[in-house]
């Protein structure tokens, strides 16, 4: 007893905050709506299809989720920072094309192409962010323009350099094996092959969560998304933060682009169109506000997982995959409504 009395101001809880129980605290997290949705969806598919819960098929679901999830990490942070990026889908392909076309045309080690692709991806992000900060146009317009230009560049340069719509095969070039081991290998866990992207995805989510919750930069990301003017007034480097977020998206695009390249050995130059919406959908399902200032990296990951489950679950349940898009739209609508309700309720309590 005497120990508690020694510092009463800290040990005595304020009577006005005593009523908030752990459940309500959990409900006020941004990703809780998505988590509930993911659990419901998992139980649903597990009950209609027995193959869905087998380790091997689950590893496939995780793989599908990771290819969306890696991008969703960057896109979630960007959306918390108050912007979004429509060029992500084709930027992934641009990155892959850069690596393959460069190392093929100049007959270099593929790692040279990989490094160049990283530079290109970060530059695309930087240019997006820089134009946005300079012109103060909405990110919708700026990144829509980048999206169209990159789509054209992907097709045009590939035909000009390689003479076709896909990049030439680079599977027998120097460094292909080691690059494949890094970006597109599998890890055997208990007899199940799990693709390496799953681990990269999880690592990225952990890093992004740490950055958001525990670093200065994380504080700035919330601030520039929540109220950029207020952030600027207290000395937050708003422009640098936002440009950095676009470059973060570029980095995620580079990882996915390298995976796409080394998982096969050639890239279709017209791919990627439309994928940008999948990343945004994952972030929104995961509780990131379109207006910025609210959300989490874990939420984006759960959103990607929901997408992966729905995508593969329909196949395992032996339904017609034509219905997938309808299903996705419905999920998006329900998830955002649930998020809205949950958020309002949590704020009232």
């Amino acid at each position: 007893m005497t120990q508690t009395i020694s510092k009463p101001t800290l040990s005595v809880a304020d009577e006005r905050i005593g009523t908030r129980n752990p459940l309500q605290k959990l409900l006020s997290r941004p990703e809780v709506g998505a988590l509930v949705g993911a659990i419901v969806l998992f139980i649903f598919f597990a009950s209609v299809s027995s193959t869905f819960v087998q380790p091997a098929s689950f590893a496939t679901v995780l793989y599908g989720s990771s290819t969306i999830g890696i991008m969703a990490v960057g896109v979630s942070l960007l959306m918390i920072g108050g912007e979004f990026d429509l060029s992500t889908g084709v930027a992934v392909i641009s990155s892959a094309l850069t690596a393959s076309m460069f190392s093929w045309y100049f007959s270099t080690n593929v790692w040279v192409g990989v490094v160049l692709a990283l530079v290109v991806s970060l530059s695309i992000g930087f240019i997006n962010g820089w134009i946005l900060m300079k012109t103060k146009l909405p990110s919708f317009i700026v990144t829509l323009a980048t999206f169209l230009m990159l789509t054209g560049i992907n097709l045009g340069l590939t035909r000009m350099i390689g003479g076709g719509v896909s990049s030439p095969s680079i599977s027998n070039m120097d460094g292909f094996q080691s690059a494949q081991a890094v970006f597109a290998s599998s890890v055997n866990i208990g007899g199940v092959d799990v693709r390496i992207t799953v681990f990269i995805w999880i690592a990225l989510v952990l890093i992004a969560t740490w950055v958001l919750m525990r670093t200065r930069v994380g504080n700035w990301i919330f601030a520039v998304g929540g109220d950029a003017n207020a952030a600027r007034a207290v000395g937050v480097p708003v422009k640098a933060t936002k440009i950095g977020l676009f470059m973060g998206v570029g980095f995620c695009g580079w990882i996915l682009g390298m995976h796409n390249l080394f998982a096969f050995d050639a890239v279709q130059s017209g791919e990627g169109v439309g994928n940008e919406f999948l990343y945004i959908i994952a972030a929104v399902i995961g509780g990131c506000l379109l207006t910025g200032g609210y959300g989490s990296a874990v939420g984006g990951a759960i959103g990607a997982f929901i997408f992966g489950m729905a995508n593969k679950g329909i196949v395992y349940a032996q339904w017609n995959p034509d219905w997938f898009k309808f299903f996705l739209g419905l999920m998006l609508l329900l998830a955002t409504i649930v998020n809205l309700i949950v958020k309002r309720r949590a704020e009232l309590k």
């Binding site: 905050i17 740490w210 504080n219 919330f222 601030a223 929540g226």
Partner: protein, 304 residues
């Protein structure tokens, strides 16, 4: 009017004031002006701020108050006159420059990011970190403790520093912003209409925090259009109208009535009386306005 006409004396008539007898002011403006294209937003404004003193800037909408604080806070740059910090001429390129010079601004509308927790807002832009290089992380527990302690020291009793600051009342939000500025070693605190959107009781609370900040030795610039809020806490009063200074007084040289009269502007009232007369009918109202005009004219300070 210029700076020399102001006697460096305290608000109380019989009390000597060691602080303001120093040769330089904490912050001073000499004939500062600013124009946007061909529009003159501010012209020939002279004022001074000292430690432990409150300088009030009064003026109606469009008088140039916002332009003035934006210049001092580093959001805009003046294009005429001089801005001096401790006697040294400066021009701020960004809000960060002004902050580094010890000038903190509490804005009426953009003081905080509503969706973020109180403690994150409190330390926004000046977060405490520990660790090295890429593993540098925020010292969350310490930041929460300091937030709670500093707010308690200002007399703000908060339920939970983890709640979004948007859930606080307007007055509480202003107070958090003031406490933040005080904690981060601001020498000059600019308050942009802190009482404009508040009720009577809340305004009183904010005025009390202004005095607390003053007693901690800060130089306070209090922007308002309400002389009843300015007079009790102010030591000096700068009156702006249409971008120009129409008066700069020490507290001992002006009374609340005179200040109000200056703010109200006798000419406008006379015009209103004239209009009412032409309309006819509103006899009671007309009488009232005419009495007010007479009042304003008689209480106008000498030299105006």
């Amino acid at each position: 009017m210029n700076g020399q006409e102001i006697k460096q004396q305290t608000l109380l008539k019989n009390e000597s004031d060691p602080l303001t007898h120093t040769p330089v002011h904490l912050l001073s403006l000499d004939d500062v002006g600013k124009h946007y294209g061909n529009i003159v937003a501010l012209k020939d404004v002279t004022m001074a701020v000292d430690n432990g003193r409150v300088t009030c800037v009064l003026g109606d909408n469009g008088a140039g108050k916002s332009t003035l604080i934006k210049i001092i806070a580093g959001l805009h740059q003046h294009d005429a006159g001089q801005l001096k910090i401790m006697g040294e001429e400066r021009k701020f390129g960004s809000p960060r420059d002004a902050l580094d010079a010890g000038i903190a601004t509490v804005y009426q509308d953009l003081a905080v990011v509503p969706l973020m927790p109180i403690w994150r807002n409190f330390f926004l832009g000046s977060e405490l970190t520990s660790g090295f290089g890429p593993f540098k992380s925020m010292d969350v527990q310490q930041m929460k403790d300091i937030t709670k302690k500093e707010l308690a020291a200002m007399g703000i009793d908060l339920r939970d520093v983890e709640q979004p600051i948007g859930q606080l009342s307007g007055g509480e939000r202003q107070c958090v912003a003031i406490a933040r500025a005080v904690y981060f070693g601001a020498k000059v605190l600019i308050l942009d209409e802190p009482t404009a959107a508040l009720g009577v009781k809340q305004s009183g609370v904010v005025l009390r925090y202004i005095l607390q900040a003053r007693d901690r030795g800060l130089g306070v610039i209090f922007i308002t259009h309400n002389p009843h809020h300015a007079f009790p806490v102010g030591d000096r009063f700068l009156l702006l109208k249409r971008g120009k200074s129409i008066g700069y007084y020490d507290k001992k040289d002006i009374s609340l009535d005179e200040l109000t009269a200056q703010m109200a502007g006798g000419a406008e009232l006379a015009e209103l009386a004239h209009e009412l007369e032409q309309l006819g009918g509103h006899n009671d109202l007309l009488k009232e306005v005419k009495a007010e005009v007479a009042d304003v004219v008689s209480t106008r300070p000498e030299g105006q």
